[in-house]
């Protein structure tokens, strides 16, 4: 295969520009052969090199006293005290999931799990952030059904609970769905594993599944726009084997309990190539690999195929010399392949041999550091004029349509297909704000949430970026958690377009501001660009995954009303902020105006106040307000508590504003009368806006003495049934 002559067409097929090719030739001092070209092309792909995003990512805040390891490793690591660390990351599997929803989503889960356990963590929770096209699009049902089945199929089998996520529908995702998966793991702080290879002569070891011809060109595919004929690229789909992944987790953790491992890295996108290049590059060493030793699933595989294969459930390690036998025994016990495939050299090169010949010889530094970095030109998203958002005639119907519609209805149909309880520590199940998972064997718990409001990011990227970070912070706060750090998955269109790049830059600016103001750094993340079909891009979707800690898992809040006759309070002020709201988009079919403003000082002040109430046991019922505003939050709490509520809204604004405005930094809480009065006083003293809205109880959701009056039974069934009805007969 290496006899193939490199032509401009071949270079182009590999997704490289002429200028990039020239750069390769000068780095190598000669023309690359076919295998080498393949390796350069994946290493320099958008997916692996972050060539369009790196420049801007550098501006994000990544440090805090509790951060043990920020971006750059397989996942981020934070300290949660008592010698324990949390390791987490989020990653996209958008393109493969569109082509084959079950396997695409399944292997997405597999990949993100490996990123986390490769650092020494036992995975304890999975999350998923999903975006689909409009419900009426002919592919939506099929894709949603397949993706959910795939996420469940993998996560359930591996035995890691899938505890939450988010699900949105919008026409901009018709041809580019988003499947972002997040894994959270726990490790001992002094037992964290990194990927930097070291020690000339040390063995390089391959473990896990055999290598087949799966997903060759996957990384380059994830870096290219979709066109009509990409549905032809089908054989690149990889099939996941969660059973093998489960064995791999156990075997790796067992080996990690010894002192045999110097460095370890999963084989993700671009498989063997990117893992070995990254390990060597981080350690400043060379790798010599004998491809004959690579465990192979199929006959006659070429070096090119072996280097670029994206077969799943594989890891690469550097072991201390002399530990091979012990390590091999562990992997054999778990019935997994184990092979010493090479060793560390001092050449600074990646040298590949096959059948006795050298089939590749490339300077590691050039594969990584010489990768192009583009400061792509961009135009900031123009500021929108404010919008005047009118009232609708029938408020009862408006509430029913929203709460019982695609955007706000219950996601139970999804999470009931996920084992969200395995491992026995899920104490905050899906359906609430953040998911809550106990730190096994302690009184502590992790709070986890994924959020972003693409509508806002589209209307005003800076505000949208701030809001996405703030919303995870708020969701964690609403269960009583102290938010600690975030991961992200930045899903955007084609960065070569100035307006898209403007969205990217704007969102990052907003995210950075929010992280700084909330002491909530970014410790890991992933970028997915070119989410575009025939020139029409997705809404900018920087999904944020936040992690926080509850020191005492018993002091936490849930969204369900607990008792009839409790007082309902609103913390925070409601402003006239219906621009880019769900109300405007869903009921009026319009999208204009500025999204709600995120005032980070107020965000922090209100949140800290609410969290303290939960921590000291005054409040155990709390829900933050987001899409759909106050009435949506109130409906959630009433439905979850199986009881009604009666409230009065008289804040000098039109009722539709009070009901549906999406002003940020707001929480609804409920408590018995005496506690509620205490809280009201404390809030007043602290200068925090607080309103007593009304009482829980009854069989209806009642606003302003019957202006809105909906039977809870109707509201509950509308909320519960939209998705199962929609998904009936999906295939």
């Amino acid at each position: 295969m290496n006899d193939i002559k490199i032509t401009p067409e071949i270079v182009k097929e590999h997704g490289l520009t002429e200028a990039e090719y020239d750069r390769i030739v000068s780095a190598m001092g000669r023309e690359p052969n076919y295998t080498e070209l393949g390796i350069y092309s994946v290493m320099w792909s958008e997916h692996c090199s972050y060539k369009s995003s790196r420049f801007h990512l550098k501006k994000l805040p990544t440090e805090a006293p509790w951060v043990i390891c920020g971006p750059g490793e397989n996942a981020g690591v934070i300290d949660i005290g008592d010698g324990q660390a949390v390791i987490f990351k989020m990653e996209s599997h958008n393109h493969p999931s569109y082509i084959e929803p079950y396997q695409g989503a399944a292997t997405g889960v597999g990949g993100i799990l490996r990123d986390v356990f490769t650092m020494g963590a036992r995975p304890v929770a999975n999350m998923n952030a999903l975006r689909f096209g409009e419900p009426s699009h002919p592919k939506t049902k099929h894709l949603l059904a397949g993706v959910v089945e795939g996420i469940g199929g993998y996560g359930n089998c591996v035995g890691v609970p899938t505890v939450g996520g988010e699900t949105n529908f919008d026409p901009s995702y018709n041809g580019n769905i988003l499947v972002n998966a997040m894994t959270v793991g726990l490790a001992d702080k002094d037992k964290i594993f990194y990927s930097a290879a070291a020690g000339v002569g040390n063995p390089v070891v391959y473990v896990g599944s055999k290598t087949g011809r799966d997903g060759i060109h996957g990384a380059t595919m994830a870096s290219a726009e979709f066109t009509e004929d990409s549905e032809e690229k089908r054989p690149t789909v990889q099939v996941g084997d969660p059973f093998t992944e489960k064995l791999l987790i156990e075997a790796c953790l067992e080996l990690m309990a010894t002192d045999a491992i110097i460095a370890i890295q999963d084989m993700g996108a671009a498989g063997l190539t990117s893992s070995s290049v990254e390990m060597a590059s981080k350690g400043g060493v060379g790798f010599e690999l004998n491809l004959d030793k690579v465990p192979q699933r199929e006959a006659n595989m070429t070096p090119y195929e072996m280097c670029l294969s994206e077969s799943q459930e594989r890891m690469l390690m550097v072991l201390k010399p002399g530990r091979e036998e012990m390590a091999q025994a562990i992997f054999e016990k778990w019935e997994l392949d184990f092979a010493v495939i090479g060793e560390i050299t001092d050449t600074g090169k990646l040298t590949l041999t096959f059948g006795g010949d050298i089939v590749g010889d490339m300077p590691i530094a050039s594969l990584v550091e010489d990768a192009p970095e583009y400061e792509r030109p961009y135009t900031p998203t123009p500021t929108r004029p404010t919008a005047d958002v009118p009232a609708v005639n029938d408020l009862n119907k408006a509430v029913m349509d929203m709460v019982g519609g695609p955007h706000l209805c219950s996601r139970r149909w999804i999470w009931e297909q996920y084992d969200h309880m395995v491992m026995g520590d899920t104490i905050g199940r899906p359906g609430g704000d953040a998911a809550v998972v106990r730190v096994h064997g302690t009184d502590k718990a992790l709070a986890i949430s994924t959020d972003v409001s693409p509508r806002y990011c589209f209307a005003n990227p800076v505000e949208g970026g701030r809001q996405a970070v703030a919303e995870t912070w708020r969701n964690i706060t609403a269960v009583g958690g102290m938010p600690l750090a975030i991961t992200n998955c930045l899903n955007f269109g084609n960065p070569e377009r100035k307006d898209i790049m403007g969205q990217f830059v704007g969102c990052l600016e907003g995210m950075g501001e929010a992280c700084r103001a909330l002491d909530y750094p970014i410790v890991s993340g992933n970028v997915s660009l070119y989410n575009e079909t025939n020139g029409s891009g997705i809404l900018p979707t920087p999904a944020i995954g936040g992690v926080g800690i509850l020191k005492n898992a018993d002091a936490r809040a849930t969204i369900n009303f607990k008792a009839e006759g409790d007082t309902i309070l609103l913390i925070g002020e409601t402003k006239d902020e219906l621009g880019a709201s769900l109300y405007q988009k869903q009921l009026l079919g319009e999208d204009s105006g500025m999204p709600p403003h995120v005032d980070l000082t107020i965000e922090r002040r209100n949140g800290d106040f609410v969290r303290a109430l939960i921590e000291n046991g005054q409040v155990s019922t709390c829900h933050d307000l987001s899409d759909g505003g106050l009435i949506a939050g109130l409906a959630d709490m009433a439905i979850a508590g199986s009881m009604g509520a009666s409230v009065t809204l008289n804040d000098d604004q039109p009722l539709h504003v009070s009901l549906f405005s999406e002003t940020q930094a707001r929480y609804l809480i409920s408590a018995d009368d005496a506690t509620a009065e205490d809280i009201r006083r404390e809030a007043k003293d602290a200068g925090i806006p607080v309103t007593i809205l009304g009482k829980t109880g009854g069989k209806c959701l009642n606003v302003n003495d019957g202006t809105i009056d909906i039977a809870m039974s109707d509201l509950t069934s509308a909320h519960r049934d939209w998705m199962p009805n929609f998904m009936k007969n999906a295939s």
Partner: protein, 220 residues
């Protein structure tokens, strides 16, 4: 009470079972790897949930042929109480220790949720602490929990009081809403729901505890 939890490749509720046994009986169970051929004498053997061998071919089929199951079968014959949950139940039917088979859920989807069920027979060593016809809330999490047996077998099961638990709603298409059954002798229980996941209020309830205390009381 000294117990053992059998661990197959792909078991994933083995730790949950061990935690429940430790919390309720006060003793840490012995964890026994599927390749073992023998293990210490114990009073109680649990086959945990999970996806042994990935649930490939048929759930529980490959585990049923493992070394350790020969020993488990021998001890079952000696009268040692054997308790299979979810995948463990599937293993028990695949070995023939319990009659019938567990097929794909009728709607083909995995289902994970709390389910109301009824204690159909509280006169077994596993259910004695429950009241007659007690309604309890226990989670399920399975893809293949659709219990099937031919009519004769079903009649026998019912006639002999071998149906231990019944779902109060149809969640997987199981014949006669069967959620759990015992063998004729009464020392083997297999059930799809996970009592080990319902042993403290923080997890959503404690209805699963009585299953373990029933066995404990019987053995003491």
């Amino acid at each position: 009470m000294k117990s053992a939890v059998i661990v197959f490749p792909g078991s994933n509720c083995d730790r949950d079972m061990a935690v429940a046994l430790t919390k309720i009986t006060g003793n840490k169970p012995l964890m026994v790897w599927h390749q073992e051929t023998d293990f210490d004498t114990v009073d109680f053997i649990a086959l945990p949930g999970g996806f042994s061998y990935g649930d490939y071919l048929r759930c529980g089929a490959m585990s049923a042929k493992s070394n350790i199951m020969k020993e488990v079968i021998r001890r079952a014959e000696d009268g040692v109480p054997i308790f299979g949950v979810c995948n463990g139940f599937q293993v028990l039917t695949e070995t023939g220790l319990l009659p019938g088979a567990l097929m794909r859920n009728a709607n083909l989807s995995f289902v994970c949720k709390d389910v109301k069920m009824t204690v159909a027979n509280n006169d077994t060593m596993f259910t004695a602490d429950y009241a007659e016809d007690e309604e309890i809330l226990i989670p399920v999490a399975h893809h293949d929990g659709n219990y099937f047996a031919d009519e004769n077998t079903l009649d026998t099961l019912e006639g002999e009081g071998q149906v231990a638990f019944r779902y109060n709603e149809d969640i997987n298409g199981a014949q006669r809403a069967i959620a759990g059954i015992t063998n004729k002798r009464g020392n083997i229980l297999g059930m799809m729901p996970h009592p080990e996941r319902m042993i403290e209020p923080a997890l959503g309830g404690s209805d699963g505890r009585k299953l373990f205390t029933s066995v404990m009381n019987r053995l003491s």
